[in-house]
């Protein structure tokens, strides 16, 4: 506040404030909106992901409000940028709850930020859902009841891709990925899962690219030196796209397949540089999911934004579906009652009928595996063809395993 406010001005201000309070109270709860706080990763490498997430959530809320809202109230979205930093994410989540009085929270793109947000949500007993960041820890060691997850988590994803690859004839593998903690831990669990299922697999070469390097040409010849049949990479987004563009003239894709996450944003940025016949996986590909809910959603999304919804958009939308289904069913926005409702609840996901497992609040969402192919329906990018869903039930942790992990962490 400004120093040196005159007495009259101060009185006037007090008067206005008091009036505001009285009138605010008299409008009463019937008109008040249900407030949703979205702790997003807007700047930095998450920017493209955010665009789809926000677009889908906006679309959902717009529809809901135009059909009269829920419990007679409209919904309102508040967005803050966590900048992929856990401490900022926690501060923003707090601010959304305390200053904006948000009733619910939505997570963003970074797994590290998600861990920070879930703690804040627990502290304030606000329900939060995660749709893009997919740390398995959220459902095991860092589980708290006011959280649910609608994206295949790192466990489902890692074991899912290992299961899919173990059924293929490939034996000679090479790997390329980022030389920092995520890259290493993800690769180690991939290797363990795969060799467990297929002991004769050989890891010929692991190429680690230093942090911040965008030029992959010094690394690609090493990657190819031992003639692998398949290259696995845990690069993602812009880096993966750049790797594909740079590896193409080295003839890598004539000799080996590249297996990695081919989400729609990646396919769009890579465009025609994406080689055909690459075995990949993704989390929620609109083009491969043949359900009436998905068809309707894609149509609406396309009408409004003139582009197809990314995986992140579909999953962010699905989180809203869970939330609203639960609110309708419980007829309240009280967090504790909603938690009880959500546990085991089925919901009309864009991916078909899905439910939230009671013990870890993980939706039974699987991983999609396919092979890149040109499709006349989509001119600007390749899609994955012959897509097969690896159901979550086949690869997620059993309830006993989860409880063991939780008791260990205590």
């Amino acid at each position: 506040m400004k120093v040196g406010l005159s007495k009259t001005a101060l009185r006037l201000l007090l008067l206005i404030l008091t009036l505001g309070l009285i009138s605010g109270a008299s409008v009463s709860t019937a008109q008040e909106t249900i407030k949703i706080g979205f702790v997003a990763d807007i700047s930095g490498v998450g920017a493209t992901f955010y665009k789809g997430q926000k677009a889908a959530i906006d679309l959902f809320i717009e529809e809901l409000n135009s059909s009269g809202g829920i419990l007679g109230r409209k919904m309102e979205l508040f967005v803050r940028d966590a900048q992929l930093k856990p401490d900022i994410g926690a501060t923003m989540a707090r601010e959304l709850v305390l200053s904006e009085k948000c009733d619910f929270l939505i997570g963003g793109t970074s797994s590290a930020v998600a861990l920070a947000i879930t703690k804040v949500a627990h502290e304030f007993k606000k329900i939060v859902y995660f749709h893009t960041s997919n740390g398995e820890a959220l459902t095991t060691t860092d589980f708290q009841p006011y959280m649910f997850q609608v994206v295949p988590n790192t466990g489902i994803e890692g074991r899912g891709i290992a299961l899919a690859l173990s059924k293929k004839p490939y034996k000679n593998y090479a790997f390329i990925g980022p030389d920092y903690a995520y890259g290493h831990s993800q690769y180690e669990s991939f290797k363990t899962d795969l060799t467990k299922l297929k002991p004769d697999v050989q890891m010929l070469e692991a190429v680690w690219v230093k942090l911040g390097e965008t030029n992959y040409s010094p690394y690609i010849p090493t990657l190819m030196a031992k003639n692998p049949e398949i290259v696995y990479s845990n690069f993602w987004g812009g880096q993966l796209s750049s790797l594909i563009k740079q590896a193409k003239p080295y003839g890598l894709f004539k000799k080996a397949t590249l297996t990695s996450m081919y989400d729609l944003d990646l396919l769009r940025t890579t465009g025609a540089d994406m080689p055909e016949g690459m075995l990949g996986y993704t989390r929620c590909p609109f083009y491969a999911i043949d359900t009436p809910t998905m068809k309707e959603f894609v149509k609406k999304y396309l009408d409004k934004y003139k582009e197809y919804p990314s995986d992140w958009a579909c999953m962010a939308y699905d989180g809203m579906v869970v939330l609203v289904t639960a609110i309708k069913k419980a007829n309240t926005i009280d967090s504790d009652q909603l938690v009880k409702t959500i546990e085991g609840m089925h919901f009309p996901s864009l991916r078909g009928d899905r439910y939230i497992r009671a013990e870890d609040h993980m939706a039974n969402v699987g991983l999609y595996v396919g092979t890149t192919v040109k499709d006349p329906n989509y001119k600007d990018f390749l899609i994955m063809g012959q897509v097969e869903e690896i159901p979550a039930e086949k690869v997620w942790l059993s309830v006993e395993e989860i409880q063991k992990l939780r008791s260990k962490s205590k």
């Binding site: 490498v45 190429v207 230093k210 911040g212 010094p218 010849p221 030196a225 812009g238 796209s241 003839g251």
Partner: protein
């Protein structure tokens, strides 16, 4: 490793070295004449890359001609930026101690990086290679990207050009005299401060050229300037501060070294430039081609 693979890795490494040379020679030249270690050289290189991106977005048709237009237009633009920086800032610190110079160039890094962030944002960008350079060349059964071959050609052209400029022209004589005997040069009536500005602009032109080349080789993001300035610094230490020939040798050692040692040593190959740098500093502190300070 087969012989074919050896040659292939060598060529691939040389192309990396040539790119590094184009950037590091600018840094070395500027140090030789101005006696300032310009940490902002990496940022100018990055600006060159982003300018190439912006310009390519307006005129890209995938033709070799539009790519050549980038090569012609962007480096002078960076040189003009260099002119402004030299006249307004660098000129004030030539007679100051090294610490102050470092402070200036380092703060310039922070400022320029933030300017780039404001203008272009945090997303990685890239420039499509022209159709003519998008494919690959067969090297004894192995595919080497045509673009790498292109860099392999451009590098020596630049090296030759610099050599001709420095040793066969009057301007070059003056620049070299400015390195060795700046006071005498002034006494002879040469406008030394103009020589300094021109050299700085030439250094920036090289940074800009490196920027265009990398934009189509890899993707461009906010980290590339910092990453290259460290490598370039190693090159300059190895080759000798102020020596263009040394910069060429240093760049090739590092480019080939990093690429080659990936295979036997993996991620430890990263240590290579710094090992060479340390060895040179111990055995020949003035660099392979440099001269001991008098």
């Amino acid at each position: 490793m087969t012989f074919e693979y050896f040659v292939f890795m060598l060529l691939n490494g040389l192309s990396q070295g040539m790119l590094l040379f184009i950037i590091a020679s600018g840094l070395s030249l500027v140090f030789g004449v101005l006696r300032v270690i310009n940490f902002a050289h990496g940022s100018l290189y990055m600006i060159g890359a982003y300018l190439a991106y912006s310009l390519s977005a307006t005129l890209t048709d995938g033709s070799m001609l539009s790519f050549l237009a980038l090569l012609v237009a962007v480096p002078p633009a960076v040189a003009i930026l260099g002119f402004v920086v030299e006249v307004t800032l660098f000129r004030r610190v030539y007679r100051e101690e090294h610490l102050l110079q470092l402070l200036l160039t380092y703060s310039l890094v922070l400022i320029l990086d933030d300017v780039v962030r404001v203008i272009w944002g945090g997303d990685p960008r890239n420039v499509a290679r022209p159709d003519l350079l998008a494919g690959s060349v067969d090297i004894m059964g192995l595919a080497l990207p045509t673009y790498n071959v292109f860099i392999l050609v451009i590098g020596p052209v630049i090296a030759l050009g610099l050599w001709l400029l420095l040793y066969k022209t009057r301007t070059g004589n003056i620049i070299r005299a400015a390195v060795s005997f700046p006071d005498t040069l002034g006494a002879l009536g040469v406008n030394v401060s103009r020589v300094m500005t021109a050299t700085f602009m030439l250094g920036c032109w090289l940074a800009g050229l490196g920027g265009v080349l990398v934009a189509a080789l890899a993707s461009v993001d906010l980290g590339i300037g910092m990453e290259k300035i460290i490598e370039s610094f190693a090159v300059v230490v190895i080759g000798g501060l102020g020596s263009v020939g040394g910069a060429l040798l240093g760049s090739l050692i590092i480019g080939v070294g990093i690429t080659f040692f990936q295979l036997p040593f993996g991620r430890w190959a990263l240590v290579f430039p710094y090992l060479v740098m340390a060895a040179v500093l111990i055995i020949r502190p003035w660099g392979l081609f440099g001269k001991p300070e008098r």
